[in-house]
Symmetry: C3
Subunit: 395 residues, 3 copies
C-alpha cells in the first residue's frame, strides 16, 4: 500500500491524543494506540523515501533521564530531530531537581520554549510515574496561568510501571512480522522471566508487554519462578484486557512448559516486586549495607533458576520450532555478555538481527506520540507533508 | 498594539548594538536598552502567534558555563534555538580552558563557525567580567586577522559584576506589569538583602538590579544589614544613574522600614563584598581550611539577621499592601526549600506564578541581544520575518 | 577564481568517495584527496559569502570521543551543523560501549537516524583504527539486513595510525599558503620530534603528516632522536609515496641539521612506538605501577633531548630564515604553557595566527568528507546550492 492510501485509511480514525501526555498504554483507547502505530509506520516510510516530515522550524525537546540509557536516549533524540526539535538535556547532576516545590518550578523554568519533555525514571518503585504526573500538573498550571506559551507534552521513556515506547515499538514489530494487528489474534506470546547474573532489573518491560499485548486478542502467558511477581494491579489490568479483547491470560512457573507452541517468546530478567519494594526503601534511606545484603540474597535466589535460559532446546517446543524471539536489548547472552544469562548464544543469534529491527521502531513510535500530541488530525498533517514533498537529504 | 505597529515604532530608534558584546547594562545607552526590550517583546509575541523568527539556517551558539545553572542554561539554549542556532557546550572539565595564552587560543578554536558565546562566570570577584573581555579581545584579533569569518558576539550570562540577562528580563516584567517603562517613573523599588541559610551567593543580581532600574526614573532603596555591602563602584553607578534619570537612590539598614510604601520588592540574599574578596583569595590559593572557617563565620553572621525574611507582615506596609514581589529564582522559601529563608511560604505563594512569568522573559531578552548584535536595523529584519510569515510549528 | 568556476573545475574530477568511510588517507586516491580539498575550499568560501550549504533537513551526526578533545569536537560539531545535522554525543561513561557483540549492537542502536559517526580513539596502539572498522562492519550488516535505512559514514577523528582530518586541514593550509598543491612540489617539509615535559603523546599526527605530504612531490624529512620511531609500516608507506610522487623521504636524528633550508617545519612531540606498545599492554592489564614506572623512564629519556626545541636559532637556518611553522595545537610553548617545551615563545609568536588559520580548515575538511560521502557528484550538488542561493544568516 502506498503512503497516500495509508494516510487515507488513517484519516478514518478520529484521534483523541492531541494535547495529552503519553504515560501508560492502558490509559489510551485501542483506537488511539492503532493511530500511533499507523502514524509511526507512515513516518518510517516517509523517511525511507527521503521525505522530510519536519514540522517544527524551532523548538526544544527536553530529555530528562534519571537513569542511564543509550538506546532510548538516542531514540528520543532521533524522533525529536526528525520533527525539527533540538534536544536539550536536563542533567540532574548539574541542576539538582527534586520533588515538590522544586518540580513545580523547574518544570516551568525549562519549558518556556519546550514542546516535549521525555522522562525516564524507573529506579524507585511507586515514584517514576508519579513524578511524571507531578511534572504534568506543574505544566498544566504554567500553561493555564500564562507562564508557558505551549503546554509541552510528556513522553514516558520508562517508569516503574510501564515502558510504553518499548512496548509500542514491540507491537509495531509484531505487526510487521505477522502482517497486521488483526493477525496477532489468537497468537501465543510468552513473557518469561529469565536468569541474569545481575539484580534490580526494572519491572516496566514485562509489565508493559503483558498490559499492551493483551489488548489485541493474544494469548498471554506470563512465566516466572515463584516469588518473582510483578505489580499485582498491572497483572490484573493485563488479565482484564485479555478477557475484553478475546484473548487469554495465564501465569505459570516453568519456562520450559510455557514455551510450548509459543508463537512469540520474550525471555527477560526482572527483580521480584517485593524485592523492588524493599530496595526502594533502602535507596530512600540510603542504607548501603542493607542494599549490599539485599543484593547478596537476591543473587543467591536468582542462582536457583539458572535453567531459566532461553536456548535451542526450548526453541524446539515452540510453534514450528521457530517462535519469534523478542528482547528490549541489551540481552544477557550466555558466553557472550556474561557467563550464564537470559539466552544462549545460539538461540540469540537466530534472532539477533530481528531484535535490532525491533529496536528500530522506537524512534518512530516516539515521533508518532509527539506528532499526535500536536496535530489533532494527524492524517491531514501527514498529507500536507506528502504534498510539500521536502527532501530529508539533498537539494 | 499589533506587531506591525510595534515594529514601526521600534524603527524610529537607531540601534548602536550591532557587532557589540553585551557585558554590562551600564555600558549601553538607555535607547539601546529600550531597543532590546522592544525586540524581545516582539519576538515573544511572534512566537506566541506561531510565527518563526528563525534567521540562521545554521550556526553555533557556544554555551560556556563556569558555574552550575539550569534556568540560564535553558534560556540561552531556547534563545539560540529560536533564532536557528545549535548550542554547543564548552565543558571545561572536558576541555581544560584557562587564562592567558590558552584563552586566546581556545576562543578562536571554538569559533570557526560560532555566532555567539554565552558565558557565565560569577565565582571569583574581579575575574568573571575580565574573563569575558579577554575572550572578546581574542575574538577581535581572530576576526581582524582572518582566522574567523564572523566575530561571534558575547552575551554575559552572569559575572561577578552584573547579570544583565536577569535584570533586563526583570525590567521587561516590570514593563508588562506597569504598562510601560514610562510608568515606572517615581515607583519605589526595594532591593533588599534577605536571610539565607547558605553563604557565598553572588552579588551580580542586586548589583544588576540597582544599576539598571536606576536608569528609568525609579526610586531605588537598597537595604541590607550593615556589613553586607555591594561593590562600591557599582553602587556609585546606581546613584549617578538615579540622579540623571530623575529618580532617587538611598541605602538603609532595616528591611521592615525599607518596605514602607514600596511598589516593588526584591528580597534576595547575597554575601558581603569583603567576604567575597576574602573568599576569592582563599579559592585562588585553594585554602580549604580557610574556606570552611570563613563559611562558619559567615553563617554565624547571617544568623543574626534571620528576621530579614520577607513575609505577610512586611507585605502589609507596602503600597496597597500589595507590592510586586520579584526574585531571580530559586528563592529560599521558609518551610519549603529550607527551614528559614528569604521569604515566607505565604508571601511567596502570592507571587509564585508571577516569578515564573518574570523568568519567562529571559529567553527573549537573550534572543534580542543576539538579534540586535547581528542586525543593525532590527525593525527592518523583524518586518521581513513578519512578511515571510513562516510557521514555527505546522505546515 | 569565483565559486562557479571552481565548481566547474571540480566537476571534471570523478569522485569515488560516495558511500565510503574516511579512515586513512593512504586508502584514498590522490584524485579523491584533491576532490575533498576542493569541496572544502568551496564550502569555506560559500560560508564566507553567507551562502548556506545545508543539505540535510534533519539527521544526526554521532560524536564518539573515546578521548578528550576540544578542537576536533568543535570542528565535527561545526561541520555537522553547517550541513544541517544535529550532533548527538555517545558518551561512553554513560553508555558503556566496548568490543565484540556490544560494538555490533550499539553501532546499530545509535544509527537508526544517523548519517555520520565521527570517532576518536587514539589511546591504544593497534586498537583505534580496528575499532572503527568493527563499527563499520556492524553498520554494513545493519544496512544490508534492513535494520538501518541509511549506512552512516564513519569519519576518523584520530586513531592510533592516522589523523586524517588534521593532515588534510594541514594540506589545505599549505595549498592556501603556497598557492596550489602543484606549488608544493619540491618543497622541503620537516616533520620533527620536539621535546615535551609530558609523555604518551599519540603518533597519529606525525604519521598522518608524512603519509599524506609525501603524496604531493614534497621532500619529507622525518627527524627524531634515536629510539623515537613511528610505526614502521606507516614510515614505509610514506617512503613509497614519496618515490611515486617524485619527492623524497629521509630520516635524520638532529633537529638543527634537519631544519636547514626547510620550507615548512612541523616540530611536535610524540612517544616512541615501542613505548606506546608497552603502554598499551600496561593499560590493557591495568598495571598502574608499571604505567608509573614507564612514565618515569620515558620522562627521564625525553629530558635528554631538551634541546629539541624549535626556536629562532633554528628558524635562522630554514629557507629565507622564515620556514612556515605548523602545529596541530595546543603546542607546548616554553615559558608559556610549560617551562621548557616544543617551541620557544618567540618562534611560536611569529606563526601563532597562522596556526589558528591552519586549524580553521578542519571543520571544512570534515564537512567535505561528509559531503562527498553523500553526493556521488559533489560538483553538481554544490552547483545546486549556488543556484538555490539560501542565506546562512538573514532573510
Amino acid at each position: 500500500m502506498n503512503l497516500k492510501d495509508k494516510i487515507e485509511i488513517l484519516g478514518k480514525m478520529k484521534s483523541d491524543l492531541a494535547g495529552k501526555d503519553f504515560l501508560l498504554t492502558w490509559e489510551k483507547s485501542e483506537k488511539d494506540l492503532r493511530i500511533i502505530i499507523e502514524v509511526a509506520t507512515i513516518l518510517k516510510e516517509m523517511r525511507a523515501q527521503n521525505i522530510s516530515p519536519r514540522v517544527f522550524d524551532s523548538g526544544l525537546a527536553i530529555s530528562n533521564f534519571r537513569d542511564n540509557s543509550t538506546r532510548t536516549r538516542f531514540s528520543f533524540a532521533s524522533a525529536s530531530n526528525l520533527l525539527g526539535l533540538a534536544v536539550q538535556d536536563l542533567d540532574e547532576e548539574k541542576s539538582q531537581i527534586a520533588h515538590g516545590e522544586t518540580i513545580r518550578e523547574t518544570a516551568n523554568m525549562i519549558s518556556f520554549m519546550s514542546d516535549f519533555i521525555g522522562i525516564r525514571d524507573d529506579i524507585f518503585l511507586g515514584e517514576g510515574n508519579e513524578y511524571m504526573r507531578e511534572v504534568g500538573a506543574a505544566l498544566d498550571e504554567g500553561f493555564l496561568k500564562g507562564v508557558l506559551p505551549v503546554r509541552p507534552g510528556i513522553v514516558n521513556l520508562q517508569c516503574d510501571m510501564d515502558h510504553p515506547t518499548q512496548s509500542m515499538a514491540d507491537l509495531m514489530h509484531l505487526k510487521e512480522i505477522f502482517g497486521s494487528l488483526e493477525n496477532l489474534r489468537g497468537r501465543k506470546i510468552v513473557m518469561s522471566w529469565a536468569y541474569s547474573p545481575s539484580y534490580g532489573k526494572p519491572l516496566s518491560v514485562p509489565q508493559g508487554i503483558i498490559a499492551l499485548m493483551s489488548r489485541f486478542g493474544m494469548n498471554i502467558e506470563l512465566a516466572y519462578p515463584e516469588g518473582y511477581e510483578l505489580i499485582p494491579e498491572i497483572v490484573e489490568i493485563a488479565n482484564k484486557n485479555a478477557l475484553q479483547s478475546g484473548g487469554s491470560f495465564s501465569i505459570s512457573h516453568s519456562m520450559s512448559d510455557a514455551m510450548k507452541d509459543a508463537d512469540i517468546v520474550y525471555p527477560k530478567s526482572w527483580a521480584p516486586y517485593n524485592i523492588m519494594q524493599q530496595r526502594t526503601q533502602l535507596l530512600i534511606t540510603g542504607d548501603k549495607t542493607g542494599l549490599k545484603e539485599l543484593e547478596k540474597v537476591c543473587l543467591a535466589n536468582n542462582a536457583k533458576f539458572m535453567d531459566w535460559e532461553y536456548n535451542e532446546a526450548k526453541m524446539k517446543v515452540t510453534r514450528n520450532q521457530n517462535a519469534l524471539y523478542m528482547h528490549c536489548l541489551p540481552a544477557d547472552i550466555s558466553g557472550v555478555s556474561c557467563k550464564q544469562g537470559e539466552v544462549s548464544a545460539n538461540a540469540f543469534e537466530h534472532y539477533r538481527i530481528k531484535t535490532y529491527q525491533e529496536a528500530g521502531f522506537k524512534p518512530y513510535v516516539i515521533a508518532a506520540m509527539m506528532f499526535t500530541n500536536r496535530f489533532g488530525n494527524p492524517a491531514e498533517a501527514l498529507k500536507s507533508i506528502l504534498d510539500r514533498n521536502r527532501k530529508r537529504v539533498g537539494l
